[in-house]
Symmetry: C2
Subunit: 463 residues, 2 copies
Amino acid sequence: MTSPRPVEQVLETVDNSLDQSLDRLFALLRIKSISTDSAYAKDCVAAAEWLAADLRTIGFSAEVRPTGGHPAVVAKSPAATGPHALFYGHYDVQPVDPLNLWETPPFEPRIAAGPDGAKRIVARGACDDKGQVMTFVEACRAWKAVTGSLPMGLTLLIEGEEESGSKHLFDFVKANAAELKADIAFVCDTGMWDPQTPAITTSLRGLVYEEVKVIAADRDLHSGLFGGAARNPIHVLSKIIGSLHDDQGRITIPGFYDGVQELPEDVRADWEALDLNAEGFLGPIGLSQPIGEKGRLLIEMVQSRPTCDANGIIGGYTGEGTKTVIPSDASAKISFRLVGGQDPLKVRDAFHAFVRAQLPADCKVEFISYKASPAIQLPWTMPALVGARAALTAEWGKKAVTIGSGGSIPIVGDFKTVLGVDSLLVGFGLDDDRVHSPNEKYDLKSFHKGIRSWVRILDALAA
Amino acid sequence: MTSPRPVEQVLETVDNSLDQSLDRLFALLRIKSISTDSAYAKDCVAAAEWLAADLRTIGFSAEVRPTGGHPAVVAKSPAATGPHALFYGHYDVQPVDPLNLWETPPFEPRIAAGPDGAKRIVARGACDDKGQVMTFVEACRAWKAVTGSLPMGLTLLIEGEEESGSKHLFDFVKANAAELKADIAFVCDTGMWDPQTPAITTSLRGLVYEEVKVIAADRDLHSGLFGGAARNPIHVLSKIIGSLHDDQGRITIPGFYDGVQELPEDVRADWEALDLNAEGFLGPIGLSQPIGEKGRLLIEMVQSRPTCDANGIIGGYTGEGTKTVIPSDASAKISFRLVGGQDPLKVRDAFHAFVRAQLPADCKVEFISYKASPAIQLPWTMPALVGARAALTAEWGKKAVTIGSGGSIPIVGDFKTVLGVDSLLVGFGLDDDRVHSPNEKYDLKSFHKGIRSWVRILDALAA
């Protein structure tokens, strides 16, 4: 008998120590590290300290480091030759409201059976992001247990403000750029394609978020006295919002599509094979017809095409019953998801110009500009991606797909901008994990095979 | 020397007793008869009792009569031959918030000097409607003082719920129809055309008020995940509101203009001569361009043409900052001012059909129907109108105009429907009276010449 390759031993160790891995995850899940509520500031510190202490047991030199807000954990492996990776995750969690919808207390983790009998970990943060972070930590631990050392040079950056907008992370990365420098970043905060199909997220849509207020008269008016003569800002704003899309589902803002690229043929073929269909994607939310650009795949609409949505609108009387008012102003929040090479500042300017061009006499407009981040498109051919894809395919027994994410993960842009490093986005969340909602869960399979997946990825990339 | 006609003596008596008339008005103004707040229910009763007692001193048999809410005052003159008139007004007043904007306490009436030095009565209710009601009461008192009797058969109906929607008035009028029957109704709750020009309101726009909710997905969605594929109800609702008017300012709902009539030529000529212009009408509210139908006079737009206004809109996230949500629904309150023979129920149905016809796939719509009242058009040639117009012209030294009111006064429709009686709407309010607002006032001239005007109208119509 030949001795098994180390990776096989490490995987076996993962299997044999799953209960202890779960114990550790549960300990972390019990800490109420809600970052958006200052009442839990001490819990955030406690979570950071728990992680640092745990990482030290695997050989990392780990510190809880101050930021302008909740602290970040920075953990470094002993100096090593070969490639160096920067792992990113977050220990903070979403608030738990509405508490009455939780079947058991959100910070008392438990194993429950899902509808199909499969085991799941239920707790706030089970998936997002404590469970995901611990898949990586446990993979490191298993490597260390079997080989006595970590398989490659690693730095872990685990922040505590992701759920409150990562307010201090950019500055922290910038201030510590030399220390955080790496060849590749691992980000574990995304999901599988479906419960059988592992996925690497290679594109993230950018975001431009604007608030627009249309102002007409200098006070609210009585519609009996002024109706028929006075400009109504709700009508003006509605007309503008109503004109943002044409009847082909395309956005009408001049120049909006500048920088949008078509998918490479092979990616498009992969995506077509995934067969994301309206019934499966929209059916569960009570819809049936995709409203995106005519002639596009549904998966393109949500992953690789830019969008425009009014996220909120308000004006005039919105209480119960009636009030015959013509309001002085009306406001809307409008956001754009960007893809490819779209320039967020140009999109913002084009939107402002589009609104101003439609503004009738006697109207003023005011804008509040919130986020403006570009899309991220990772090179489909980067070696880390190829290696990770093979590792995931080996673990799950099904070809790993490269997908896009409709949402944004700003840290990925920051890593590129500040550190010049591309990110490998691998995660094991599922669509039904109820992230940000009551009864958040993470499948035990996600956790277990997630650890195994990182064992294999580290093996593949350490070489 | 011939003895003066009685009307001249009565007018002289009005002039000579103005201080006492003011004392009585002040006594009524001191009563905090706010009808919308149950904390003031006793004050409402007190105001009704004060009026009944005062009317008894002029020879009326006056009673405070229960309704389902605040009581109504009904006062009857002794039986008389000749025409009988029903006077309507209200003793209740609007709330006083925001109290801190009042220069002096709202229920401590005072005489102040206006910007031009002219005296004004300042108090909540000074104009609306206690001051206006007392112009009529004081005219009756002067007639009684000079001639020993009232000049014609009169019934006064003074309610206490006008500012809270006259909730019980229709039933009260219906239940007491035989008793309230009259040849003509006088309503004193309107205004002058301008400080020099007396006016009789001969048309009142009707009102159809609807709430429309557009529903798409069965829950709020994350715009990163679903943006580009999922129907956004804010866009759908905006498009519908944006399509309510064409670029000529006309309302696009099929059949909406059915029953709308053109003005008689002489009325149109009168109105043209009034020269209501954008600078004067819209300038003070910060606007410059009327938005009504192209080719119409501004005065037509606000008095004799139907309108459509969104009075409120809400959907999605409307707090501070950003939330990347595609809401499940969006709602708007939409109202229509009706004129001429427009049928409110047909307008409502046409609006519903208009919305449904524009509803895309996957959207549902729900309506809440509030008010639906037709417009009132009084006969321009009715004898009471001709007589009152001459009386007003004589008093003010300027031709009295017949105008339309953009708003609604539901009691006028009720009088027509239940009692079969037309209303003569005469009032002395001015645009700057700050009705419903802090520092409400009524010019001393409005009060004084208002009393004199009713003296003359009673003289003209009693014949």
